[in-house]
Assembly symmetry: C2
């Protein structure tokens, strides 16, 4: 079977499954999620053995230890995936909600009703837990899902999908609800990107390279996720203790994630007081600083930043630092270099807080909060399938509701147009 054939066959099966899933009861979907969780724990040995193959292969390919750590499964991680599925079972079902409804003067009764999207494709890299998390969210929102993970995790993903798909079908969800593209050929990913006949939505999750490849090549509707060149702006009126704690948190608590800070902007009025103090603490935490000329004067140990640094998503213990003359300069810098993900101002000035939240164009704009909170769990959505950085359909963390759409249902008694 060619990769294209595999995508066509699985696409057709998913479309059939989606038609049935769209009116599956909440009780049945929850039963499936719990059965999937139980099956993960019961078939742990089978999953770990498959994962060991991937890890061994990665070692032979001289993959770096942090990447091997992302790939590796153990009892704890499997238990945590199962726990995630049980949490999703506990979340309210978004399907069937009447979003709004009204009656027209001619008597038409219009209801806008929340329904599943249909068939969702997911192209992702590395961490095998995405396989289970994404499948759980898609099932709860009534969608069929076609997964395409990275080739380095193919054995783990096969085992995981096999276990959860079998469990879901075992309680009565249709065949084709959860499917993995087995081919690791790039042609399979390309076929998925152009499977307009079958896919209603494709979500890429991974590095900037993967996301760009999907945007450039896809003809199916895409939600762009995750690239985060996030800024913290410390205003002249900031509580500097608070600013220091937030800057440290946003940069160092987990530097490899999309909502970590990549550039620090500091108002010139407080730069001489703030930068040496925060700079010392950042360096203690192992952060490499790259500064503009004014930063360099105050922090001689900072390397000079180049223009490219303002656009870089380091995902590492590196921080670009710039002293700005004003709130306006900070906003202009963010709107020019940001990726519309998460942006924060630290200020005590009401007008500045209002201007910043109004004029900064990003999915999440924070006042006196670390950027690290842009996350489905932290927002209270229960879970997320990714963080959208585009403006269409959904912005920021995408939970269950963002995995649905709506249809209009209209009742009448013979109305015609004149």
């Amino acid at each position: 079977m060619t990769p294209e054939q595999e995508v066509r066959e699985k696409g057709a099966l998913a479309k059939q499954a989606a038609a049935e899933l769209a009116h599956a009861s909440t009780a049945l979907k929850n039963e499936a999620l719990l059965a999937m969780a139980d099956a993960l724990c019961e078939r742990q040995e089978y999953i770990l053995e498959a994962n060991r193959e991937d890890v061994q292969q990665a070692r032979e390919n001289k993959v770096s230890e942090p990447l091997i750590d992302r790939l590796m499964l153990n009892e704890d991680r499997i238990r945590s995936m199962a726990g995630g599925l049980r949490q999703v079972a506990d979340l309210p079902d978004p399907v069937g909600e009447i979003v709004q409804g009204w009656r027209r003067p001619n008597g038409l009764e219009i209801r806008q009703v929340r329904v599943p999207i249909g068939v969702i494709g997911l192209i992702y890299e590395s961490r095998p837990n995405v396989t289970v998390d994404a499948a759980g969210l898609c099932v709860k929102a009534g969608n069929a899902v076609i997964l395409r993970g990275g080739s380095d995790a193919i054995n783990s993903n096969r085992a995981l999908t096999n276990v959860i798909a079998t469990a879901a079908e075992g309680v009565g969800l249709p065949k084709g609800t959860i499917q993995l593209i087995q081919s690791t050929d790039r042609a399979a990913a390309r076929a998925l990107m152009r499977a307009n006949e079958y896919l209603d939505l494709l979500i890429p999750r991974g590095g900037a390279g993967l996301i760009q490849a999907v945007i450039q090549n896809a003809t199916v509707p895409v939600v762009e996720t995750g690239v985060g060149n996030c800024h913290v702006f410390v205003d002249a009126s900031a509580d500097l203790k608070m600013a220091e704690a937030i800057v440290l948190n946003a940069k160092t608590q987990r530097p490899g994630v999309c909502n970590a800070m990549e550039t620090l902007l500091v108002h010139q009025e407080i730069a001489a007081e703030f930068l040496p103090a925060v700079g010392a603490r950042l360096q203690q935490a192992g952060v490499e600083l790259r500064g503009c000329p004014r930063t360099h004067e105050l922090l001689p140990e900072a390397k000079p930043a180049t223009e490219a640094d303002w656009d870089e998503e380091y995902l590492a213990l590196i921080l670009a630092v710039k002293v700005v003359d004003s709130l306006e300069e900070a906003i202009a810098h963010i709107n020019r270099h940001g990726t519309k993900h998460s942006e924060a101002i630290i200020t005590r000035d009401l007008n500045h807080a209002r201007t910043f939240t109004k004029e900064v164009d990003a999915a999440a704009v924070y006042v006196n909060v670390s950027t690290r909170f842009t996350d489905g769990f932290e927002f209270g959505l229960g879970a997320e399938i990714g963080i959208s950085t585009q403006k269409l359909h959904a912005r920021g963390p995408m939970g269950l509701r963002e995995l649905t759409t709506y249809k209009y249902i209209i009742y009448g008694e013979g109305q015609i147009r004149t």
Copy 2:
């Protein structure tokens, strides 16, 4: 200037305008809409003269009379465009609405606030009124718009855009709020489809060919609009008088639009009673019938339908007719051949109504109503920029609200993640 340069320059200017427009007051936007309306009336002679050039050119190119009629402007049509702008000024401004908001256990105050999308591109054909309608809706929702009309209407579109853009800037909206791509080269349309740096959304409006070209070539987010292979299913329990009136209306009231019926499905139990009666009336109205074998037995004057007829959007006085055995067969036929636009059942059976609305996958599903109501005005949205047939972002008629997105604004007092 090359077409690519024109798109880049106008894209950059639109992006700048959008940043300012995003926080323009409702009063200013309404003032602009009224000024645009006034200017259309005042500069009527200038617009009509430009339009006469297009019409003359079309006549020289032997364009058909119906198409020339779509292209032609007159005093009435200009007055109607101006009236449309005044109506949009009267509609509520969707920007600034707090869609939802909540407080997290850690004290974060999260608000989801409605904001403009940013820069919207529109690629469309023929009718010059789209230029004015689309510009008005985009301005009211706080978006900058880049218009790319058909080459046959280029002089009319230039005059119209010139008049309304000047009026909008005259009251203080930023330069670049409303722009027309002057180049009629296809390269300009292609550049617009790939202008990810500038465009947040591209909407194609026109025939199936135009829409497919955009879907196949665009890398910017697209909302697919308009293709409607709509069905009416007359169930066994239907009120046949009502069914007849709805079928006549859905097919003949305005056959050239996307929400007109293209295929009639009739339950076998009532086919012998219903088809001869409705067939006669349809033929009186000049409708050519193409039927399945069972239809042909009851309506010998119907031509035989081929498989291709079930997928055809005629946009003309032609109707495909099929007798089906059951509700289930009707739903399966619609989900296989429909374009997810508008679908109707005529029935007195509660269960059938519920099953049809649940299982038919379309933007608008009707019970005992003509499909012709899928329209922004008829839904009470005030106006529409198009009818979405995809599932991402918006489904069905897209009014002002569907031309917006949201951002999260989060206030705290120093929260960090642990």
